[in-house]
């Protein structure tokens, strides 16, 4: 690789994923340009990149979502490629389009593929055509009872009656037997009418106790499409994943092969290039159903990297540059077990409320098989403007049991003070007998953690004992010389500027 794949890459994101992408650029010896809002002036990602440019004020619409400003920055800094990361503009089809107009390579799929996967109805039709199973049911609203009876027969009981205008469980009814169908349809209609002023309802198969299992796919511009196995992401709170792992305990070699092939077909049918993720629901009998395709790098991609020994962001860059994907990927296999815990600034004891403040103490766990993708460090101010993800803690071990044990230890040793994090909550999830037994379904947290209570009593005196000594040593944080909480030289160097500001 004597020639660089790109001259310079603009990283159109912040936090841990921006850091992750900058690291991949470094491996490929490609200079990187970070963008940052005025809330992120001293952030890790802005400090790490080869160059950094202030893009606007904190509100995302004026900074990380300001498409035209980002394209202008790429041009004035001579970037010939942009990596969108996840979130923000990553799945906006206008982004690849505007890049193309400006002669800049977008590191991701085409606008067309994004549009197709962004439209649930079209995606469903396309997937059915490609032989990818979707949740069986009616495509449109049902008019009379006979249509519901036929659809229910075809899908197989239990079925779910859903309001077309629905949401929040209103107008939703699970039907276990044919005898209950008529009554349930009528009840769902009444509820839907009351809740949404629209009594249109439809029917689909009800998936009991589903697992959320997704497949990583990778496609280049030379006709190669592969999958890199599954990730199970059933542990979710407020419909957001917090713990992911691979391999999934629900997988058999046969099911893995079947689902992997379906994922590859999904990517091929939509003309997908670059890295993507095909999400499925898996029922207790091993039936699987296409949910959606994420047309970006996923938050949880590191567990795949740990078990397959791959570097997905490097591959994204190679593929976008028109290279073939790396040869080693064609005989990739899964080795050991990996788990990821998302470290959010939030209060698990208070309904996962976001927490903000300054990080007063920061210490990462170390050891074999421990990886941290972090966007913060000691002294970082965590605001309320952006997604509260601070970092991801990933462990890799020979078996699931060892990975769980390693993760609990690593969470304990990942010390962050000044803001609330859900470390203890995740330690309790991992230690739960149901988690250990692999009974991980999407309702895990509400079912198993709902009545969780933290007994802080034994910790209080221990905390007070250490605090008393700290106080006696007359020790405000700074006077004690806490290394991690000290301002870095970058903060004390005085007024300076990297590059120039973008004209507003």
């Amino acid at each position: 690789m004597s020639d660089k794949l790109f001259k310079k890459i603009l990283v159109a994101n912040r936090g841990e994923i921006a850091v992750r992408i900058i690291n991949a650029c470094r491996l490929l010896r490609i200079p990187s340009l970070a963008i940052y809002s005025t809330a992120d002036t001293d952030s890790v990602h802005a400090r790490m990149a080869d160059e950094a440019v202030e893009i606007g004020p904190p509100p995302p619409l004026e900074s990380y979502l300001a498409l035209d400003k980002i394209i202008a920055a790429a041009k004035s800094y001579n970037c010939d490629a942009i990596h969108p990361g996840y979130g923000f503009l990553a799945e906006n089809p206008l982004f690849p389009e505007k890049c193309e107009e400006a002669g800049i390579r977008f590191i991701g799929p085409s606008a067309e593929a994004m549009r197709l996967m962004g439209n649930k109805v079209e995606a469903r039709i396309k997937m059915t055509g490609a032989g990818v199973p979707v949740i069986p049911g009616m495509k449109d609203a049902g008019a009379d009872l006979r249509m519901f009876e036929e659809a229910a027969q075809e899908a197989g009981y239990p079925v779910l009656i859903k309001a077309a205008a629905g949401g929040g469980g209103k107008g939703m009814r699970v039907v276990n037997q044919p005898e209950q169908l008529q009554e349930s349809v009528e009840a769902a209609r009444r509820e839907a009418k009351n809740a949404f002023g629209d009594d249109t309802v439809y029917l689909e198969k009800y998936i009991e106790n589903p697992r959320h299992i997704e497949f990583q796919v990778l496609a280049d511009h030379h006709g190669n499409t592969i999958h890199l196995f599954e990730r199970e992401c059933s542990i979710q709170r407020r419909h957001q994943k917090i713990i992911e792992e691979t391999p999934s305990v629900a997988m058999t070699p046969a099911l893995r092969a079947q689902m992997g092939q379906a994922a590859v077909r999904a990517a091929d049918a939509s003309g997908y290039r670059n890295a993507g993720t095909v999400e499925f629901l898996v029922d207790k009998n091993g039936g699987f159903y296409f949910l959606e395709m994420n047309t970006r790098i996923q938050v949880e991609h590191p567990v795949t990297e740990m078990t397959t020994g791959s570097d997905l962001v490097v591959e994204q860059i190679r593929i976008a540059a028109g290279e073939k994907m790396s040869e080693y990927l064609f005989d990739a296999s899964q080795r050991g077990h990996a788990i990821e815990c998302r470290i959010y600034a939030e209060d698990a004891e208070n309904n996962f409320f976001p927490s903000s403040g300054d990080i007063l103490y920061y210490e990462e766990p170390v050891g074999p098989g421990i990886r941290i993708d972090s966007g913060v460090t000691g002294g970082t101010t965590v605001g309320v403007e952006y997604d509260p993800i601070l970092a991801k803690l990933i462990v890799h071990a020979p078996t699931r049991d060892l990975a769980i044990a390693k993760m609990i230890n690593a969470l304990r040793d990942y010390r962050i003070l000044g803001i609330k994090t859900s470390r203890k909550f995740m330690m309790d999830v991992l230690a739960h007998p149901e988690f250990r037994a692999g009974r991980t379904y999407t309702d895990f947290i509400e079912k198993n953690m709902g009545d969780r209570e933290v007994d802080v009593v034994p910790a209080v005196e221990v905390a007070a004992a250490a605090s008393a000594l700290a106080m006696m040593r007359k020790a405000p944080a700074t006077a004690m010389g806490i290394k991690t909480a000290k301002p870095s030289p970058w903060q004390t160097i005085g007024p300076w500027e990297i590059g120039m500001r973008i004209a507003k």
């Binding site: 409320f353 976001p354 927490s355 903000s356 403040g357 007063l360 103490y361 210490e363 309320v384 969470l411 304990r412 010390r415 962050i416 003070l417 000044g418 609330k420 994090t421 470390r423 203890k424 330690m427 933290v454 802080v456 910790a459 209080v460 005196e461 221990v462 905390a463 007070a464 004992a465 250490a466 605090s467 008393a468 000594l469 700290a470 106080m471 006696m472 040593r473 020790a475 405000p476 944080a477 004690m480 010389g481 806490i482 290394k483 991690t484 909480a485």
Partner: protein, 165 residues
């Protein structure tokens, strides 16, 4: 030397006996051997069980991590002029201000109530965190200028007291 700390409403009086390695700290009937490991990091031992504890003091509070359990202890001191704990300013103990601009979550007292020093008076939410504001003196609640749910700044007292010394 006695160090006073508060966890929520529980007072913890820690008697600290310094030694060559750190200190022996007694709280109630329990004795802990505390040794500094690194700045902000301590080993706390009782009956052969050692815990690694991190703590940082800021604005009258001690932020503590005991192996994943996060706790905030309050230092009930007179010269606290910052957020949390006793927000009453020196010489102005009859006026209770919000520690930072925020929202009144809950008033814990009513006009005419008698209050004692260190009694929690009001909970203010700021930066999405709840802060308990305590009385800095004994007295009677003379006037309450806000209701639950009101936005407050740091210029207008939330509660005014009639101090009885």
């Amino acid at each position: 030397m006695i160090q006073q700390l508060l966890y929520q409403d529980t007072a913890l009086d820690a008697s600290v006996e310094p030694n060559n390695h750190g200190a022996e700290v007694s709280i109630g009937d329990s004795k802990y051997v505390v040794k500094p490991l690194a700045p902000g990091k301590y080993s706390v031992e009782m009956n052969g069980i050692r815990h690694t504890v991190c703590c940082v003091i800021k604005d009258g509070r001690v932020h503590v991590d005991v192996e994943g359990v996060l706790l905030e202890l309050t230092i009930p001191s007179e010269d606290d002029d910052m957020a949390g704990g006793d927000a009453g300013m020196v010489g102005e103990k009859d006026k209770i201000y919000a520690p930072m601009p925020g929202k009144v979550v809950k008033l814990l007292v009513g006009e005419g109530d008698e209050v004692t020093e260190k009694q929690p008076l009001v909970i203010v939410e700021a930066m999405k965190m709840e802060n308990q504001v305590n009385s800095a003196a004994n007295g009677t609640v003379k006037k309450i200028n806000f209701s639950d749910g009101d936005q407050v700044d740091t210029d207008t007292p939330i509660i005014e007291l009639e101090i009885t010394e």
